[in-house]
Subunit: 472 residues, 4 copies
């Protein structure tokens, strides 16, 4: 049965993690946190809690609000909890790959939630299997718990550091035991992880929008390479790694994060508006209206409209009820594609020169359908503007981009893409336009998907890994 | 268990109806139509189809995309179908009240889908029960099928006319038998009903956005009082009623309909923008940004921003995953209210003079929470602008407004409401501003919720009916 | 998808009804009662309760223990309740045909549960439809509520009597309103209905085994034609009908009822043993072991063994987990048929002369498979004995027998059947053997399925009705 | 929510395992096998299949027929499969403890299904954890896959032998990889495992009744200590262990196995009848009828009746629909206990001297309720006979008996038990009566639950282990 979960060719999706220490109903708070982070993963969701004596787990396929009934939340007692939303793909979607991972090892029960993608997981896994380890999932994250359990170090923090030294790639982690919560960002800082406070409770979250919902206060972002341990004695930070070049993921700004989150020190909506402002100067064109592809294109379109003076208009309407599985009916009326998600408002578009703003193009198929839809609605001209540079290289750190051969910008020139989209003009934001919008901190970002400068991974490995497709 | 399906005090919701004649997989098309009309009702959904020999029904609680699995659609064969989305309330929500209603009567099986609210249903029901009729639901719509079945007239159209002559109130209807489809708008034209064409198939739909999804062409709106019969011989219209004053529901423009629909001859988004433009002149104020309450407030806010020159900004973010049931966890962290649906983006609001645009205020509780949220986010001033006049009178024709005592504008002055909302200023659109935005056709609208001029219903009846709360 | 709910050709199944008046948690008691009566119907189950103000209904497809969760029972408050188990057929199985039926009529809400089959339902329905009535189901039972609602009589009992005078066929009924419970047996007494007491509460039940579970005391059977009204003033009986010849269904003894029930004044197990004793004399044969087809054949086999002196042996084992839906896997290993339900114990059968005792043969296909299974298990001879006469005529009063053409005994001689079964010998109990086992009351039984003497229905009607297949 | 899954104090339950090699739709056959073995475990069920390239798993809580929809079976392709039914307990019932266990290790994917209980699992687990292993379940079975994966041996059989040498306790195992199936019985042969053939396919099953259903032929039982490897080259047996004293579980005869299975070389029904025959001589008493506690007491009661000449009668009726979860309603009508499962037929029991035959007594609470129920039904005398010796010692090899303190026979004399049961007399079968019924092979059985002679486990370990409660 063909579903339409991924009718857009936006496959950039990610996981969300959320943890609480010291709140009487930690699982309930985690539930709310995961609800705010739903956009980072819709495939599965799970919470593990601790009452100091035992760890309790509820993990299931589906959306946060569907999974966590009151009955289920009631089975998660205690004042410590971590949660995880896993993103949605077709195919490898199985309960065994849902997180948090809960295991018993020599020091008792341990749970782990991982956002990011390890680039040397296969290598580590083979090494561990050769020593007699068994694996229960296809997640790269499973190697982390093995490394912690197999470490010769004594206390948990030492074991964690030992494990981290063997990992390469992106990993924001939450680890919990019966009486402690540990937050970790990898030394290159690929993925965000923020610290907040609600009364006496401490919160760790992928994005700050989850702090807003529960009315917690933002304290600070964890630093790249930082290990923050929280237990009944308070917080303690460990920074065992030599500082490396930071490689924060620029796509958190472009697409992943919610606009009302502050990520890597900046407000996402404002960065997106700045991207849109800069985009005006790439290939100026006369147009009657600026139309965003909702919802991710809205802030850049607002920036574009403000900078250009061309009126902003909601010429494309998004169906609110998309997000859940949509089953295409019989053969004869199939292929509704993007129409299920978006509809063009003819009365706004007809006879107009329309400038569409979107955040990125992956395969190009969706953008092409949007252009055609706008033209059928009566637009006189259709200009496409993309608020990020051409996506020419696959990502190995957690973005589910297709392989090189599927990335249209890896294989076609901008003119060819424009032709494929059937647009009148097409322009991308330049790399300069991107870094200027981000500001001075832009040096701390990974731009590999635009320029191929992969941080720290040798090319050979990359190609090898490209065939795998395991991420979390 | 307390759910949050109705966390907003916007209870203005409605039913959606959709019918097809002459399409090989009529139920599949109806499924797509209902999907487009999901915003008109989320409580239950149903489709009845005909293959010329028999009528097949699938009716269930829940959302269209959840109910209609491929297996279920396969149980709905044939070239004629009608569907219905029922709106969501707390309490009386039961499967027996879902539509379409399917019955057997002396001329065989008949299905009916109703959008609107009858004001004399109780009276008719009592009369029918006295004659020996039994009722299976609490829907006012059930009296219509009784009246048709009990009519002494011969053919179906005559029976339908006979029934219509006894009905008072709002009713856009779809009626189907084994081999015909009938579309009806009540003589006052309260609710919309449009006719479209897809190849040789004819479509009837509450809103035109459903035509867009299936790539059908809009033909025309049904006229008030028109009965349109479609069978294998084509279409035939019956207009048995003396023309009455038209009473189209103005809330279809203000809130109900999708912005990309053309309703009562105008594009909803454009009317809303015009409302926003006119709103600028009600109580001009200096502000830094215009912020819509998403999503219904967006078009009016765009109009306001364009007219006033104050920048438009998405300072409130709507959670995409709301719309499904959200279960509030334990006592201690309850009452998230509007925060589950909306979040304020502090970075955009702090230090600003914020002008919030919303479409209406019912009880005022949600608006108050929004004002407080914006203020907590750091706004220096909070001005509220409503793109419709004060909602002072309850509706008896299908809008689920609370009773008189719950309508804040029926009991408080604008100043008092402003104080309750904790806003700096509050202004509503004037009735003149409203009618001017709608244009010359504004005479054909029911404005009773603003001015109490109820079309054709005596006051006594109204008060009597107010206690009932049965609608569809 | 082919299921195996009816892998036996025993289609004799029935409905079960249970009612309570005056017990604080009447729905809970009804739940237990329905659980005891599960053997009378596995398709759907429902309970309607009253707290004196309102009627509450929970009706669903499936088994009693699956349907009635604690949450669902909690939605059925009050001290009066009736419940219904509907038997399972393939095809017409739909929720709209589940009972109790709950309607509103001129005197308020009324619920009805029906066991039996009306033979003039179609005729009445046509008459009612001609007068303007609408029907929501295909159940014959629906005409009863229509007749009560449409009666010109004043109080409910008079309306019920009025309705009963128009009904022909089998009907044991429970009717309830907000504050009364009415039990009814049709004037010919086709189906059982017993009265019991638990403390101050009064119970009405299809079979006495339900009284045992709740530790209620049996008071008496309702009389044919009796209408027993229970309200806060106590019980009152109405017997408005001239006594007619009684036509109790003999299959309640042969197959339907649980062996631990007392039905029509006798213990079912003891009657079945007597049938088995008498069967010994029909065609005496030398055999090594008497083997019942479990579970319904056990009592007759015990009677046979005791009377004949041949050892009783459990040579066929019934799978406990049958009763629920069993999905046959792929094509290649299909057609397990009776093997899913029964297995032959080779060690007991091999080399033996086996005498199988079963209660009846309908189509013969199951019996044939059993004979073949026993022979493959190594039996030297296989003799089949049936503890009822040849089933030569279809039933119109509630037993779901196939039409005349499918009844093997209606079309073949005993010798031909024996040959078809591949048995060595076959004998049925004679009509005399049957009536002798029942004793003097045997005159009060309907034996039409054996001798074609249908009580009170003209042959023409019967044939006409045979095509319908509506029962409850 | 309190359920009644274990309302009897018969907690003797077990797991069932079934494997297929070389059948085109191996999973479908496994489904049928598990269906036949449902009595050995109702908590969860799972199947793993292989198409030579990959292993596919479907594991879920619930009953076989509910879990394996056609859709789910279609996700299990290939010609090799193993399946597992897990028994039902309250509390520790979780999906993570369901089997088969599927892991990846250095040689690829491996699945394992285990029937039995290891007595040194905790010790092994601690040792493995100390070396860095992580555990995902609380099943003792999980240590087996760890030992295989961690073995320094090369090929799989050598690793399996290596692992087996470290295990102590009961284990019948099925192990499969992409292209082989391995069957194992522990050196003491606690649990059964039989080999059968269907065409060219080979079958391994806990009981032979599963062979009957699929019409496979029984070949032989696996020998204690035998490792049977099946791959495309055929079968090969390994017997690496020095022969030890055999310790077959006598409770397979007394209670676990289906009567139509041949276990440990004998037919279960016939052994049970022999137990019943011998029981006559323990404490002869005059009685009017012999009544079994259905269904497990039936064969022994038949043996008793035949030997004693006292008539056999089905005085207790078992509700067919028990086996599924039964939810007890509200407080006030709780504690139906055994009445939900059994009902006494008063008409058979009243005024009689009744001799009840049951297979065993664990806590005594159920037996007491049965005696009381029979007495309330009017029995003049109630004599209880148990077809096994007093159960005085807990089992550590897979029978879920309560601890020493809960076993009534470990703490009370027969007279005291008789008094507790409120029976007139009580007699157990003697150990001699038991061994005589089993015959010469009785030396190969573990009788520890009757005489405390635990095979090979030191007392200290036993006591330590008794607190754990992990079994499979």
């Amino acid at each position: 049965m063909e579903t339409m979960e991924t009718i857009e060719d936006k496959l950039h999706e990610e996981c969300g993690i959320f943890g609480v220490f010291g709140y009487p109903e930690a699982a309930n708070l985690t539930y709310l946190g995961l609800y705010s982070l739903q956009h980072r993963g819709q495939e599965s969701s799970g919470i593990v809690s601790s009452d100091g004596r035992e760890l309790y787990a509820e993990v299931s396929m589906g959306l946060v609000a569907d999974i966590f009934t009151r009955e289920r939340l009631a089975r998660l007692p205690g004042g410590i909890a971590i949660g995880h939303n896993r993103y949605s793909t077709t195919g490898s979607s199985q309960l065994k790959n849902a997180q948090p991972i809960l295991v018993d090892f020599s020091q008792g029960p341990l749970a782990l939630a991982h956002n990011g993608n390890l680039v040397n997981a296969t290598e580590i896994r083979k090494r561990l299997e050769a020593k007699g380890s068994i694996f229960r999932s296809t997640m790269d994250s499973e190697v982390i718990v093995h490394l912690i359990a197999a470490s010769r170090e004594g206390d948990l923090i030492s074991r964690v550091i030992d494990a981290m030294q063997q990992l390469e790639g992106a990993f924001s982690l939450l680890i919990m035991t019966k009486n402690q919560l540990i937050g970790i960002r990898d030394p290159q800082g690929f993925r965000p992880l923020s610290l907040g406070r609600l009364g006496n409770a401490l919160i760790l979250t992928s994005e700050t929008c989850a702090l807003d919902l529960i009315e917690a206060h933002f304290i600070r972002d964890l630093e790249p390479g930082e290990i923050l341990r929280i237990d009944q004695n308070g917080m303690e930070s460990f920074r065992p790694f030599t500082p490396r070049k930071c490689s924060q993921c620029v796509f958190e700004f472009i697409y992943f994060s919610r606009p009302d989150s502050d990520v890597f020190g900046q407000n996402v909506h404002l960065v997106r508006k700045a991207l849109g402002r800069n985009l005006v100067h790439e290939l100026p064109v006369e147009a009657d209206i600026v139309v965003p592809v909702p919802d991710s294109g809205v802030p850049a379109a607002l920036g574009y409209a403000e900078e250009s003076g061309i009126p902003f208009e909601m010429g494309l309407i998004r169906n609110h009820y998309v997000g859940r599985t949509f089953i295409e009916p019989q053969q004869s009326i199939r292929h509704f594609g993007v129409k299920i998600k978006l509809n063009a408002n003819k009365q706004l578009l007809k006879g107009k020169r329309v400038l569409i703003v979107d955040d990125s193009i992956v395969r190009g198929t969706t953008s092409r359908k949007i252009v055609q839809m706008v033209r059928r609605a009566g637009a006189k001209e259709v200009h496409v503007r993309i608020s990020s540079p051409p996506n020419t290289h696959p990502c190995f750190y957690g973005i589910d981009t297709p392989t090189h051969s599927e990335l249209i910008a890896a294989n076609c020139s901008v003119e060819e893409i424009c032709q494929y989209l059937t647009a009148d003009t097409l322009a991308y934001l330049s790399l300069d336009g991107l870094t200027q919008a981000i500001g001075p901190s832009s040096e701390d970002f990974c731009l590999a998907c635009f320029n191929g400068n992969y941080p720290a991974v040798k090319l050979l490995e990359r190609l090898e890994l490209a065939g795998e497709g395991r991420r979390s």
